[in-house]
Amino acid sequence: MAFPLYAGVYLQHTATIILTYLCLALSWDMLVRTGQISFGVAGFFGIGAYSAALTALNLKLDPLLSIAVGGLAAMAAALVLGLTTLQLRGMYFAITTLALTEIFRVIVRNLPGLTGGPEGTVLPSAIFDGDPTKTYWLLLAIALVTIAISEAFQRTRVYFAITSIRHDEMVARSSGLDIFKYAVFVFAVTSAIQGIVGASFAQQYAFVSPEGTFDIDFTLLPIAMCLLGGMHSTLGPIIGALVLGSVAEYLKLQLPYGHLLVYGAVITLVILLMPQGVAGKMKEQFVREQ
């Protein structure tokens, strides 16, 4: 990979950003494995971020504790919403989660007393006083937990449940699995991850705002990463996040004007040339060589 190996803080910061997206991408993929495409990543990210920022500010919670609160809040929201929306399939579920993100944003913007309104809320200081190494370790830890959960989902009963939801609901039903229960469970867990990531983002940059925190990029980029890397696996989203995250940063430095154009072209070309994603392509090569 043509990743520029600048030593030090900058690399760590870039790696932290990539890990942030990696967690979002992987959590999104975990839900996709049940057959549900969510466009609501930014929504749970934002709920986590706001809950963490507001509890840290108003209840003087420890930043790490507030991050946990962020995760819990996102999980609670997902439980409530999942019970009503997970009945929807395909594009209808996707659009509903997208709309919910916008609904969260509008609510946050219109409650200035609680949330700081359109201007957002500033925290007095960043987590670990802005120490990039500690922040990196935090995100790495969150990423490792996410990877562990993803692998656990791939190896346990949950795997059977969620893949059978995706492939054939009738089979899953007749085998006595309460598939809806599993879908809600996965939705809650993945949303909690997204909430935790959002919360640490808020703590890292010490501010939340409706425009910045509910940014649709927090939904779109992770999806792009999963597709590039390959879906329905732990490895695919990881590869996608590493590749797309470092390519984006590298391009920016090499090509100050027009780097986003190349970025878009790269996405288009990868879809045309490697429709199964980088991981899928690698696997194919691997199998062929054997």
Binding site: Y6, V9, L11, A15, E119, G212
Partner: protein
């Protein structure tokens, strides 16, 4: 079976790579300590005396995809070129390193890390969106490097930077500076032209941070001298563009002044739809960060007032402005479209002159020198740094009140740089 093993191997490799990258700074020599050491800037302190010809590095973080940032970067490059042509500063050339922030707080903060640790710049400059500076504040505080910032109007940023940051110099006026400045301006204008009335104001503000923040700041400020009411709208920049509901409310309020605070894409819509519903208040004023291409060419722009920092017409009353404008047009073959270009130009000159006065790039000396700045800026202002509500070093506090006349933006106030007299009241829409 092989698939699973391969997956395990790959996950392992990635984890290993991640661990190495985290440990790398500990191993790499010459990296600055991660926690800020108060009082010293490692990069500045480490400068060996022998390296006389070594360039002085300015690191700029700007959104290059946006015209404001693009033109700001162009003007900075122009200023650096001019200064270097005259032998640089302290016998050393200036080097400008620009990193795109993509209007994203995380990217903006990472850009600062790159400039500080990879390029090892001496001073941070640049800046545009408030939302980005908010995210950059922890990083800026971590390095506590001398920072001269052109952008960000939201006073939330001031909160985030904090009172202790003696290294932070902010050129752009804060939202409440702007509000206070307009109060001053209108008081002066109404004194000179007693027929002009501004007591009763109706504000239409875009519902995001920019509009709502500006309105709130002004509302807190204006209770003394003007009665203001307001209503939010959705900017065309984020998918809105129907202003008729808010315009109709404004019409019912019969204000002396109608002000809209939004973005460039709202400009034409506001005049078109005001004409459509027959709303022509005595003063029709817009306050976006910039204007659309050739807005002045439309007959609807005639006598529209605007708030701003600069207009090309200032060249008629300011030599610095004329010098900048001519040089910019010569260099790039186009007139700058936003005030961020003179601001970027001023940004480089303010830093360069301060370094020259300080005779060094040592932080304490540079800060003292910057505090004594008295720079005649192409925006028509004399930039000095004085305390604002929270921070110690606020540059420009004054805005300008301008008006479109015959297709050009003319300065009405401050009177020292005025290029035209006000056209009042606003002519009716009929026949335009």
């Amino acid at each position: 079976m092989t698939g699973k093993r391969m997956r395990a191997v790959c996950v392992g490799c990635i984890l290993l790579a991640a661990l190495i990258s985290a440990c790398a700074p500990a191993a790499a020599p010459g990296t600055p300590p991660a926690t800020p050491t108060v009082g010293t800037t490692p990069a500045a302190a480490a400068q060996p005396a022998a390296a006389v010809k070594k360039p002085i590095k300015l690191g700029a973080v700007i959104p290059l995809g946006d015209i404001t940032g693009a033109q700001s970067a162009k003007a900075m490059k122009l200023a650096v070129k001019e200064i270097n042509a005259k032998g640089g500063v302290l016998g050393r050339p200036l080097e400008l390193i620009v990193v795109d922030d993509e209007m994203k707080p995380d990217k903006g903060a990472a850009a600062l890390d790159k400039l500080a640790t990879v390029d090892k710049v001496d001073v941070f400059i640049g800046g545009m969106a408030s939302g980005v500076l908010l995210g950059q504040a922890p990083t800026l505080k971590k390095y506590a490097k001398v920072t001269v910032w052109t952008g960000a109007a939201s006073s939330k940023c001031e909160e985030a930077i904090g009172a202790d940051a003696d290294w932070f110099f902010h050129i752009h006026p804060w939202d409440y500076n702007q509000g206070a400045s307009y109060e001053e301006g209108w008081t002066a204008i109404t004194k000179r032209y007693p027929q002009i009335k501004v007591e009763n104001q109706f504000w239409a503000y875009e519902e995001g941070a920019f509009g709502a923040g500006t309105f709130k700041a002004s509302q807190d400020l204006y209770n003394q001298w003007a009665k203001i009411q307001g209503q939010s709208f959705k900017s065309a920049a984020v998918g809105g563009g129907d202003y008729r509901a808010v315009l109709r409310q404004a019409k019912e309020a019969k204000p002396d002044v109608f002000i809209w605070v939004g973005y460039e894409p709202d400009a034409m819509g506001f005049v078109q739809q005001a004409k459509e519903i027959g709303f022509a208040p005595p003063i029709f004023l817009g306050s976006p960060p910039g204007w659309p291409v050739a807005f002045g060419k439309s007959p609807l722009s005639e006598a529209v007032w605007l708030y701003g920092m600069w207009a090309p017409a200032i060249k008629e009353v300011s030599d610095v402005s004329k010098g900048f404008l001519d040089a910019y047009v010569k260099e790039y073959g186009e007139e700058p479209a936003t005030y961020f270009s003179p601001l970027g130009y001023a940004n480089v000159y303010i830093v360069a002159e301060a370094i020259r006065r300080a005779g060094t790039i040592d932080k304490p000396a540079l800060i003292t020198a910057l505090e004594k700045t008295e720079y005649k800026s192409p925006t028509g202002d004399v930039v000095t740094f004085t305390p604002s509500k929270i921070i110690k070093h606020q540059g420009i506090k004054k805005q300008k009140i301008l008006q479109y006349q015959h297709g050009q933006q003319q300065v009405i106030w401050p009177f020292e740089v005025a290029t035209a007299k006000p056209a009042y009241p606003f002519p009716s829409w009929e026949g335009r």
